[in-house]
Subunit: 271 residues, 2 copies
DNA sequence: GGGTATTTGTCCGTATGTATT
DNA sequence: AAATACATACGGACAAATACC
């Protein structure tokens, strides 16, 4: 069996979808019963084919309704400035370009936790040391955008940064607050980018499909003082299906507001 | 049916795997037949459960052998310097830290293409203009690392940059070659980061699972001259399952060589 | 709101193919 | 060659979700 039957069917459907012969203008694909007749295969076999398309994100199914081709979504574009000018927003510097989108920020949930794993490693703390965590959810135009938690060594609070443990937004940004309070500068930052599977919390908040197809960006930003000592770690997660990042270096023309985010270039660099 | 049977089984298996009760030390999970007995479900149902785990990347199956829990892989860490000092490697500045890894670079495949889509948009060319594309594959320690294509307007070749259309490596870097030849500087760069599904070529080169679970980073780097005119676009794709990026800004302590890349922080910032 | 038809989701049993040991 | 284990494929029954009258 060179190519399994379900795979042949899947490839055929994909071709027809890309040609626009199927599912155009939001119409559903043929029902499983119809496909069963068309391909002379059992319903379970055509279902396997459709499942493969679902796994590729090409189509989605709705119980009781049918199978539809997925629409590309207009991504959030987050610009990471290399040299932040000033007044960055809370904890994670970001700017979302595009047509008058309205951000929405939850009240921070503040907790005292024990540092472990990544947080302890990044802050250079012994596993078991206390940290303050400030957690926030972001929405843009009502769409879940990011989950963010910033961790500070408990020592900062003991030295007077009491606003860190209040569950209210720090308007000027927590980092700025610390800079003002302690008369120092965040001299450097290191960002780590990775992609991993979404956990249950993220799947629920971002409303991701259950099959684990859509991962999340995990951004770990560590802030250092002049002495090279880390004093905060911010962990931000964002779903990969609706987010892009832009990094600018040196002299770069402004990104036009209506500038379309690239869809895909896969056809353009093939081996 | 609050929770489907297959999902209950999947959750139970996941729990046991995470507890180390199953699949530890490389031993296979119980066979489908054994699971069928254990859970008193049909073989198809336990297969559905296992499929879900496979989709999550928690286990993999090998025909004729069994089902095994996936091992975490030691990721490549690519450092993106904000202000490249000098002598960046060909076309895409990168540095892979870690234990004496040996990079491997294919001979470039050079083509003359018609610009369209992303490339035309980024280079500010009319769709239909000619571009030179230089495509390379990278391996690290024999493991496929990236696919990369850089596009230059054909006009550069007509103005004398003839080495661009030769299928030989440009040791000092193509950008450096252009800078020397035309006495100008790459004054700025814009990087776009996105994640998308791998296409067939990428799946084959990177040896990705067929189910589309693993996406690829797509990095689009556009280089601008002093006048703000784009003169090259580099498209790089790397699988998300084995790559991380690090971005440093300002004064940051050196990244230790053996510094472990973070596994996951999902447990540490939950709503 | 209720009922019904449509469509996908779950679950079962069975048979046979293919890869690996 | 034989045994084992996963992969493919079929057919059937019922459940759950949705739309529509």
């Amino acid at each position: 069996m060179a190519e399994p039957r379900w795979r042949q069917i899947a490839d055929d459907l994909r071709q027809k979808i890309e040609d626009g012969a199927l599912g155009a203008d939001g119409k559903p694909l043929p029902t499983e019963l119809e496909l069963q007749d068309e391909y002379e295969a059992s319903r379970n076999t055509v279902r396997d084919a459709v499942k493969w398309l679902v796994g590729r994100g090409l189509v989605y199914t709705r119980s009781g309704q049918g199978t539809f081709v997925s629409q590309k979504i207009d991504p959030f574009v987050t610009v990471l400035q290399p040299n932040e000018p000033e007044g960055e927003s809370t904890a994670f510097a970001f700017a979302v370009k595009n047509r008058s989108r309205t951000p929405d920020l939850s009240v921070p949930r503040v907790e005292i936790q024990v540092a472990y794993g990544v947080v302890a490693a990044e802050l250079g703390l012994a596993a078991g040391a206390s940290v303050v965590s400030r957690h926030q959810r972001r929405l843009i135009d009502g769409v879940p955008y990011s989950l963010q938690t910033t961790f500070y060594p408990m020592a900062l609070v003991e030295q007077g940064a009491t606003r860190l443990i209040q569950a209210t937004d720090i308007a000027e940004g927590a980092v700025h607050y610390l800079e003002d309070l302690f008369k120092f500068k965040e001299a450097g930052r290191r960002d780590r980018f990775a992609v991993r599977a979404a956990d249950a919390n993220e799947s629920a908040f971002f409303v991701l499909p259950d099959d684990g197809r859509v991962g999340v960006f995990e951004l770990i930003r560590t802030g250092f003082d002049e002495a090279g000592q880390p004093f905060r770690v911010t962990v931000t997660t964002l779903p990969t299906d609706r987010n892009q990042f832009v990094l600018e270096n040196g002299k770069v023309p402004a990104l036009a507001d209506g500038d379309d985010a690239p869809k895909s270039s896969s056809a353009e660099h093939k081996p």
